[in-house]
Symmetry: C2
Subunit: 549 residues, 2 copies
């Protein structure tokens, strides 16, 4: 087919370009081989209670960086220049989409208000503390020429939890409450970051008025609501199109392709309208798993579930390997070689600010959140410590943002900027490796299996059962009861239902979902309304166990 | 998580970059939306006997290009600049890998010698005719300053069949012989193209000696054998690693990820060693479907089968949409506006040369190939016409190569080069649309269903059965018989086996496969040798029908 011909012509007709093109082929080979190595080593270390795949990738990346540094005589440490586009346009969307696609929806929406509180108010508190701490401490330390904008950017960069790291250290099945709180917070604070950044650009933060504060809050809600609606809309559109057009046919490739493309389109549309792409693609994933996934053929279901997980897995490995490799970038470190003490000092101060900033919102906001909850649903002290700890990690997002703020196309010539970059790298490496390694043992220590199980129970479907079972008068699955006997519910139970607002919301949502949404958009409850369609029927019967959402 | 923050900082800190970055977001949105539209329209037109998805994408691309041209006031027609890297590094490998992964292996290897004959000798004949035709005709036509290298490049560019187009118009299930011959030829001639290009660079083709000719033939075999071995090696390594490490466990993501990464690594390694990446990744796909695919869990099997097909499907759509959009690139057409007649003339001559060049090897080589075959396996006249016709399409590969040869980073200032580019575009569009549209009806005309079925039968598993059934003395599946009773085969039948060489090769291959390869690398026949492994056993039982390979 003459494909290599093209490469060969390219290589030979332009010999200066040839070297760099060949080098990039060499680099891609090394990188893909390293990814394979990460998978194999990650598998071999799977039984370990300390390691996880992301730390393996990070360590392999660091080792490779060191080897490249040694072989190139100290001139170079990475295979590619860090590209923000690569990160935000290609690697991040599949990870967040998959998180939405696989999230336990019931758990997520039960804690929805707490998640939004953490993601919005919490991030704002953390941003304020880190920024003002940095301004006050670094101005006395002579770290080079940094203006107010740089300090605020440091606050914005380090105030946000890295969802990708959280996915690696918290297990959705073992600690569902922690997972949904910390990961959900990471998704919501994406919208907060956009609002904070706009505020930094447009408002004079030193003397903020009440109306401006309300304006900021209004901005946040506008972004949050529009981003969510865009994601939900894209998900519903995909469900409708697949239900309408592919009904009863078996064009697996088209189904899977249109799911991937619609999800990606939702992310790009959000970028187009300056919304939060992360929020959008996360909600698109949730809606797709609730409706679209049930409208496709059985083979497409297996394929999408595992293909999305694999895409996300490769993207995560890619990011950690890359961050590890990039951490040794000699150009930035050469600036701080003459004052290693100062670099260590700045990194420690930033790390301390991150920890203080997070503590200042996790414990007060948990207290606030507990006030609205009944005894069984409160966030315990041990859980609060874990929420604080698991959210301390800063990852590739922080590094990408630091590169963006403090370099011009990957290079920096200013000492202050170089110190900020190396400090961010130090915070990222330290927090990912140390906090990451400690999270699993800490979960076991603070929530020992027996207690852990009871904790889980208090936030799992058994918890609502304890309220609904007496009021339904039998021991069957409460959710199924609500669906089947919803309209026959005895009036005396309404008072109890109203006293547990999240269950009431869930009950009315199920009624709305069954009456209006599912007949139009398909989904799991869709089949009983159209008993005459053999394809859907047989598809439905093929699913042996229904997942807990 | 602050992801948008990065994009926003990028947009605001550098306002000149901001516009182009925002434009690229707009363009990506349009492009992804168009891909969705292609899928939906392709689905709606599925019943049509004329259209196929690639032509739909091409037409949508052309329309979009026209709309962009009108709205931009005639200054611009495409969303992106055509990027060779995008094409050869990202879009082509999944298509060719999937073709190898899904190919009917028995059919492919039965016609292996014919395929190599077409791909190697045929492409060389076609290259010679097109090049010398172009030299003799265009020198008299005053088409601008083109040297000998340009004419030889035109020959190389237009002598190669586009496998991607072939995949679209020929159906593996309806016309297996045609599919394996024409598509296989497209894969093999990739190696030929590399050899021809090297020859153009290093030898004086006008006075070639016998030793140089042998050198060329030696080069071809070296490239062919090393590329094949690299692909087979990568496939076997993946099979061994998965069988050895993941045996009996269920880490679906890792299995799928390592299959994808190993396949891609084989392609990139081939590029690294200046081999034929197409051949390598094609054979890697074949080996992976024969061994690796059987070693993974049932869920991974469904996932890989459909995920690879989907990736390939999206890549194909991407290419055709892109070619359609790029065809209206105003910069190149403006050079030929003053002499439209000449452009039409050049295009028609090139199209004629392509048709003549292909006719000059399809019919003689089919005759040669028929001499070695028995009555039931001969390629009939109608099939020869279809092989000639279906291989006439030139596609995205030709366009990418033409851009590479006749432009510098997507732009051209020379009239001769512009004419060559526009003529290549015309040949690509005309051959894809007209020949593509005509192929399906032509297949029905020349091989009517009843006759078609008998043709199929003569080249399908029923054909070997007619030889093996009498010699085995019963009517059971001959392949299963060969596996089970292989060693008990009565000696008197060996003479018959030897008289049908391809079946003999197949028989010894099965013996070798069962005795040595499968115990090491797994694969379908692997289970009976380890009856004590419950996981493999249950996996094996889950496959209801064994595919025909």
């Amino acid at each position: 087919m003459g494909a290599d011909l093209g490469l060969l012509i390219g290589k030979m007709s332009n010999s200066t370009l040839a070297t760099s093109e060949y080098d990039s082929v060499v680099n891609m080979n090394i990188f893909v081989a390293l990814l394979c190595a990460c998978i194999v080593i990650g598998h071999l270390l799977e039984e370990s209670r300390w390691m996880n795949e992301s730390i393996t990738a990070l360590v392999i990346g660091l080792c490779t960086g060191a080897i490249i540094l040694l072989t190139s005589g100290g001139t170079n440490s990475h295979l590619f220049v860090f590209s923000e586009d690569l990160f935000f346009i290609y690697l991040l969307p599949p990870i967040i989409f998959n998180a939405g696609f696989q999230v336990k929806k019931k758990q997520f929406f039960r804690n929805f208000m707490t998640i939004v509180l953490f993601g919005a108010v919490g991030t704002a508190i953390s941003f304020t503390i880190i920024s003002f701490g940095a301004i006050n401490i670094f101005k006395r330390m002579n770290v080079g020429s940094l203006d107010l904008g740089d300090f605020l950017a440091i606050g914005a960069i380090l105030s946000a939890t890295d969802s990708v790291c959280t996915l690696q250290v918290l297990n959705q099945d073992e600690t569902p409450l922690l997972y949904s709180l910390v990961f959900g917070e990471g998704v919501v604070n994406d919208a907060t970051s956009v609002v904070i950044f706009n505020a930094v650009q447009n408002f004079d933060l030193s003397r903020i008025t009440t109306s401006e504060a309300f304006n900021l809050i209004g901005n946040f809600f506008y972004l949050f609501v529009t981003s969510t609606f865009l994601g939900v809309g894209a998900g519903l559109l995909s469900a409708y199109v697949i239900k309408r057009l592919y009904f009863g046919r078996h064009s697996t490739d088209r189904e899977v392709a249109i799911m991937i493309l619609m999800a990606y389109l939702s992310y790009m549309l959000a970028e187009l309208f300056y919304l939060s792409g992360i929020l959008t693609v996360f909600f698109c994933g949730i809606v797709m798993s609730h409706y679209t996934w049930h409208n496709v053929t059985e083979k497409s279901r297996v394929t999408t579930k595992h293909a999305f997980a694999t895409l996300s897995f490769i993207s995560e490995l890619f990011i950690f390997l890359y961050v590890g490799m990039d951490a040794l970038d000699i150009e930035k470190w050469s600036f701080v070689q003459d004052s290693p003490g100062k670099s260590v000092g700045v990194s420690s101060i930033l790390l301390g600010l991150v920890m203080v900033g997070r503590a200042c919102f996790v414990f007060p906001l948990s207290y606030l959140s507990n006030l609205t909850k009944n005894r069984h649903e409160k966030i315990t002290g041990a859980q609060q410590v874990l929420i604080w700890w698991a959210g301390l990690m800063r990852g590739a997002v922080s590094m990408a943002l630091a590169y963006n703020q403090f370099t011009r196309s990957g290079h920096t010539k200013l000492r202050g900027n170089a110190i900020m970059i190396t400090s961010t790298i130090t915070v990222v490496l330290f927090s990912t490796v140390v906090f990451g390694l400690m999270t699993k043992p800490l979960v076991r220590l603070l929530l020992p299996p027996s207690k852990n199980m009871s904790r889980m129970a208090s936030s799992e479907p058994t918890s609502p059962k304890s309220f609904i079972v007496p009021l339904l008068g039998n021991g069957r699955d409460p959710e199924a009861e609500l669906i089947q006997n919803g309209s026959a519910l005895c009036p005396s139970s309404l008072r109890v239902l109203l006293s547990t607002p999240s269950h009431t919301v869930h009950y009315y949502w199920r009624k709305f979902d069954d009456a209006i949404m599912r007949p139009v958009f398909g989904g799991r409850g869709f089949v009983p309304y159209f008993p005459g369609t053999p394809t859907e029927q047989s598809d439905h019967n093929l699913i042996p166990k229904e997942d807990n959402n």
